[in-house]
Symmetry: C2
Subunit: 161 residues, 2 copies
């Protein structure tokens, strides 16, 4: 559903107009569409060269910043399940971009650690990714960027996202 097409719901839905909160619909539709477009653009223009998905990249990013991260924290950070982290870690390990390391104090916990190769990939990829970030929001002024970040953060905080 293209955003502008969504307006036609009033004419076509049996539900009375007054029972629909049109502003909520618009926010949600535009929010998801922008995020989806962002992800597609980054995967296509930046990440495809190294065969990385958005989630794979976000995990590598965490490892780049923190060197070693528990799988549970990776899942929380990326907003995916632990099972997904397990699968993606397998793929990244196969590419020799990271490796697993069992915690000595609590052997239930597994940490994921960045390899030198993984660090090199991030040092090459991150600047390009950042270029993409800048480009995507370049139509907004700094002030508008602050406003939208603040509003998004409110949504995130109030929903425990």
């Amino acid at each position: 559903m293209l955003p502008e097409e969504k307006d036609t719901i009033n004419q076509l839905t049996k539900a009375p107009i007054e029972s629909l909160n049109l502003h909520s619909i618009t926010v949600v539709t535009n929010l998801y569409r922008a995020a989806q477009g962002l992800r597609n653009k980054m995967e296509r223009e930046v990440l495809a060269k190294h065969g990385l998905s958005w989630t794979s990249f976000s995990i590598l990013y965490d490892l780049w910043i923190w060197d070693s991260v528990e799988t549970k924290k990776l899942a929380l950070s990326a907003g995916v399940s632990k099972a997904t982290i397990s699968n993606i870690t397998n793929t990244l390990e196969r590419k020799e971009l990271c490796y697993r390391k069992v915690d000595n104090r609590d052997r239930r916990i597994t940490c994921v650690v960045l390899t030198d190769k993984g660090r090199k990939v991030m040092e090459e990829l991150y600047p390009k990714f950042h270029e993409g970030e800048v480009e995507v929001v370049s139509s907004l002024s700094i002030e508008e960027q602050k406003v939208i970040s603040s509003l998004l953060r409110r949504v995130i905080r109030e929903n425990d996202f």
Copy 2:
């Protein structure tokens, strides 16, 4: 990467601070996090009962509004590839929520049509989905909802998302 943690990049990255546009990073991070949280919430609280993913639901929604839609338009609307539409249509067909119909004028084109059962599912599901939409943005005032929609729409338009 949690939003608040992203701030630490300045201390940890080798790149000079002045070469990073921190506002862009914040917008992109919060945008994707909010959208991911939104999707997870809806799939968990509303769509799981009928075994539908976000994309499946958005396709059903298009069909609900338009009755019959070409697969190409469905892909454009949902922001996924035609292959994905083909697979999801298979699943929805298996559930008898829609069926394919080859175009008579151009037999390369396939339209997807909503069944009565599909319409009933949407009539049951959409009100609950809409409740979720309202809930997610309820921490923002109407005026703030208008602002964020407007800014998101600018991003969408400028990037051809």
